[in-house]
Point group: C2
Chain length 339, copies 2
């Protein structure tokens, strides 16, 4: 009934561009999402081990409530420097809040990071972590086409016991309304059901965008609430901040900051449906929501219904983006015939 946008990427939201950079020796990287201006933005943090910056500036009770770019990065706390690089680069281009003539523009660059420090890459960077430069490079690479899989912020990511990475998807709701999502999947939980092959998100798949595997043929035992726990423990993954699903959802509607917050809150359901368990003490699950404002919603009760519809679509897109992150991170899975 509804179909993805032309690219089935978050960049189907006109004005939004995405760029990746990576450091192959560090097995880490950065993904920058550049808004086409100071877009309404909200954030919802639900993981027990989050790492972020400029989230308070998006709180509904605060003043700005807008963002010029959003940065997702590997590198745990060191990755936060990627947003410094992006902020400096944007300001140098004249992008940001201009508080008075002659002072440098102030770009609002919220960011969230995931932990890939234990993935075997060279993290012996001493006083010079690479993330500030990676942020600048990711911003330079921003365009409307971008890669999925083990790239950018997802370069070194793991989804439970298999490779995670970057996924993205979009949905055209008709009447000029487009929703998109981008996930950087580094979760403690698995995107696959206990059979090891069916995506939890299978019900939301469109056009075989993550392999067309469909539902499982028969019931399976899903009674273990944390099936991979002992193996994750052995890997040292059961620590605060050691895992995270980062999400950005976006639409072209004229949402306010509080409406973006509701969109981000509803989009957390997309993590819940695509990853199990989610929102654990060890995850840093954080979702940003962006709204370009190009499409005008109505007012009153009808408007709230549209917010609910947009939030639900954002959850669905994020579930699909999560499954696509796994699908594109594993070439063998990517080639796997439909079952």
């Amino acid at each position: 009934m509804f179909r993805p946008g032309p690219k089935n990427l978050i960049t189907d939201i006109a004005g939004l561009t995405v760029g990746h950079s990576s450091d192959e020796s560090a097995r880490s990287g950065v993904t920058a999402l550049l808004c086409g201006g100071a877009w309404s933005a909200g954030v919802d943090v639900r993981g027990g081990g989050p790492g972020g910056r400029e989230t308070d500036v998006l709180a509904p009770e605060n003043l700005v409530g807008r963002a010029h770019a959003v940065v997702l990065a590997g590198g745990s706390v060191f990755g936060l420097a990627a947003a410094d690089g992006v902020a400096a680069a944007l300001s140098a281009k004249g992008i940001g809040l201009q508080l008075r003539p002659g002072s440098p523009p102030i770009p609002i660059v919220p960011a969230a990071v995931l932990h890939d420090l234990g993935n075997g890459g060279d993290k012996d960077w001493g006083l010079a972590p690479p993330y500030r430069d990676l942020g600048i490079r990711a911003l330079s690479a921003a365009g409307s086409d971008f890669a999925l899989g083990s790239v950018g912020a997802g370069r070194g990511a793991m989804a439970g016991l298999i490779k995670g990475g970057i996924g993205s998807a979009s949905l055209d709701l008709g009447e000029g309304l487009i929703i998109g999502a981008l996930a950087a999947l580094n979760s403690i939980g698995s995107a696959l059901m206990p059979d090891g092959k069916t995506y939890w998100a299978w019900a939301f798949e469109l056009d075989q965008e993550f392999g067309g595997g469909g539902p499982p043929r028969r019931p399976m035992d899903s009674s273990d609430p944390a099936p991979d726990e002992s193996r994750l423990m052995a890997l040292g993954r059961l620590q605060a901040g050691a895992n995270t699903t980062l999400g950005v959802v976006a639409c072209n509607a004229d949402l306010s900051t509080v409406e973006c917050k509701r969109m981000a809150m509803m989009a957390q359901d997309g993590i819940a449906r695509a990853v199990r368990p989610a929102h654990t003490p060890f995850d840093g699950d954080t979702i940003f929501a962006l709204a370009s404002g190009a499409a005008t919603l109505g007012g009153n009760q009808q408007r709230a219904a549209q917010i609910g519809r947009i939030g639900s679509a954002a959850a669905d897109c994020l579930s699909r983006a999560i499954a696509r992150a796994v699908h594109f991170s594993d070439p063998s899975r990517h080639q796997r015939p439909s079952v």
Copy 2:
């Protein structure tokens, strides 16, 4: 691998009892959950139209962080009076915080309500809504066995376009650890997939507890993010506070208030997986978490892993409780042969 507790009810947590009361002419009612003492408690409110009381007392930064009972009620804001009745009745029995000798004990009774005012029952109560008395009656009825379906707080509830109600489920995690959930389902979203018969929660079903329908036979079109929207609009359901999934999750571990908060947060994923859409601007989705403290968890990182495991189990139990609410509310569904 893991199995439900002996009753497959939240009352498998030793010391917890549950009672229902209802007003058949009003088509509404109350469900009271009585803790076996002042149990650690937390709450997580995620709906856009919540109605509650004594939620702030459970905030981790506040002092008490415990509850003697939890009340769920129909009647929208009028239902909050049910907790007044429960608090008075408990105090009269000597249950509550005793601040000084001779002063009445102060029971902490958090509550949340759902909207059933538009369900056709007689709500012409003027200055005398029935909920205070219903609260007292529900408390009197509290026991370790209780009914599921269109009873208590779920007497007049709707789940999307079909009957909602009360559901409950439990999981025995072994080593003496038991988790349970109770749902009062009055959601805007549907507990059934677009085929109208498969439960969204099918993957979590144990022992055919909600009909054994299993997974769907083939993929279906789940692209519409709010499939029942136009019909819900016509019913006047798309209004703040007009819909709600209320949940209580409980365990017998020695969780602190903050750990109960994480358990409640993770349990919201159980709503997300069992109802779509969820957490809309029109839902009042609220989850309480209770911990009896009978079972001692370890410390440090191992403890956090157990919290994650308990939270994931709480989410699964709540998904199952939601499906059971629908299953037991509709006799025809209840009798429906497995497919």
